[in-house]
Symmetry: C2
Subunit: 196 residues, 2 copies
Amino acid sequence: MDLGLLYSGGKDSTLAALLLEDFYDVTLTTAHFGISDDWEHARETADDLGFDFRRLELDPDVAYEAVDRIREDGFPRNGIQHVHQHALEELAAADFAAIADGTRRDDRVPTVSRAQAQSLEDRHGVDYIAPLSGFGRGAVDRLVDTHLEVTVGPSEEIRRADYEAELRAIIAEEDGREAVRDFFPDHEQTYVTGVR
Amino acid sequence: MDLGLLYSGGKDSTLAALLLEDFYDVTLTTAHFGISDDWEHARETADDLGFDFRRLELDPDVAYEAVDRIREDGFPRNGIQHVHQHALEELAAADFAAIADGTRRDDRVPTVSRAQAQSLEDRHGVDYIAPLSGFGRGAVDRLVDTHLEVTVGPSEEIRRADYEAELRAIIAEEDGREAVRDFFPDHEQTYVTGVR
């Protein structure tokens, strides 16, 4: 069964791919707005890991709505949630029989409630699967340590294809590079470089 | 990493085992009260599938508490939930580094909330994993169809090692066989006979 997995090149979505690969024909699918070319990093990782890869083009208006929300809130959570829901809708409307993402049990954002999952499935006739939603942070970290090779560094230096990269790019362009730090806390990001 | 998975011999816990086997050293662990010998069916299935197997002895008082609750409610849901929580506590207190069960996203019972999961992990120093909690009913059914050989039949005829079997046995002994039907709706059960 064909499954499209929302893929950033980060550890969570890569681990999700490994959990699903024996059960589905997994295509790593990187959603992007066409604002930056960070999706290319995800494609490189997908190629290295031997997975099929696809780009999923999102509506740039949604990126600007998300940025407006982030400016209004002063933090990125709700803006990123807005983008994730749009990405899931677009993925569900594509031609996969099943779709998935890398959301974990302990994630604060993005989250997909049971009701949202059921609604996606019913409206689009797909299975929605969150293979990491039964794993806590500690369990995910331990699996990453044993199964993945990763590079860790500050958000600004690590290039990955998550929504944050493109939302940061819009803010940097419109408000200046300093503004990015006002909204996005400086946290460590990981980028997957291989499978152990 | 050693992982103990609560195992009934049914399709959900067997599918959970398949999802975890590449990532953990899985021991299928059947919790029982010593009331019936239904656990032996789970051991046979575990042997057939090539998994390690262990019995986990539960406190029979908990079975009688559950039966009292089922009589009081007129339906089994809360009684089964009571037993499941006890089983998870006992499993977490055993010597596994990680524990797991076969609860699905759409299960009404048993359920393990995010707060309960975190509490189990913090108090016992284990990872608690619910590998099917990101899969809906349809996705689970489709994976079962493609990966497992199962026998389907009415609850009374299919022998499996879930808590229901021992709770039914107590009610049958104390209240008569007819009483079992008053509390447990007649539904179809599955028993796994192999892997495709």
